[in-house]
Point group: C2
Chain length 131, copies 2
């Protein structure tokens, strides 16, 4: 079954030296949401961590040979669902970023592992499992 989603905005960053993963990134940039969505950003504040879902728009298409891949962090052949590889059945990325500022429909963030121009699909609060 195919499901259509729409881009809600785009990632902007001057950096072209992006780390492999948000968990080891200090790269700064901006999430620029489409016009009309600013009201949805109310209550996002500097210092918070947010979950950002995005489209790996420049990744090669996934095929059966990609079910096992060499993982970037370990160098070991690993099932795709145990990796953060951008080559996956659905090319959806997930990063946890630190908010450094919010203004109208833009959110300044730290911790980017997305390329400049990456389409954004959603922003969610970062919630921890209860102890």
């Amino acid at each position: 079954m195919s499901i259509a989603f729409r881009t809600i905005g785009v990632v902007r960053t001057d950096s072209s030296d992006l780390p492999r993963h948000w968990s080891i990134s200090d790269v700064e940039g901006t999430l620029v949401l489409n016009d009309g969505l600013a009201d949805g950003l109310r209550d996002i504040e500097p210092g918070q961590q947010i979950v950002v879902l995005f489209h790996f728009d420049r990744s090669p298409a996934f095929g059966p040979d990609d079910l096992r891949q060499v993982a970037g962090d370990t160098g070991m052949v690993t099932g795709v669902f145990s990796t953060c590889s951008p080559i996956r059945p659905n090319a959806i990325g997930f990063s946890i970023l630190e908010v450094t500022g919010v203004r109208e429909s833009t959110v300044n963030v730290r911790g980017l592992d997305m390329l400049d121009g990456t389409p954004i699909l959603d922003i969610k609060p970062h919630v921890e499992r209860r102890p």
Copy 2:
């Protein structure tokens, strides 16, 4: 811009008494992936936590009036990107679940907040930010 994703499997659970959020759920169930994806589940093991992306397939369509909503946990009017509401610009859900077993193309999990039949979009490892 519209982006098409495909269902990679479906959530199965006997429970109809689902909590509002995975972070407060002990509900058990199974992620049943489509044929041909089992190799991607290698390396997922009981005791691990996994990130599951899914489609809120039974939620009402999002409209401009939904940019601010009453949040389920606080009862306060909150910007949609600070809530876990299923009514959002892209109806993509995100849960962190505990793996209790893996067999062929199925993963037994604890912590469900998805309805029986929910379409699955992706499974990813749960990674913490470096300290």
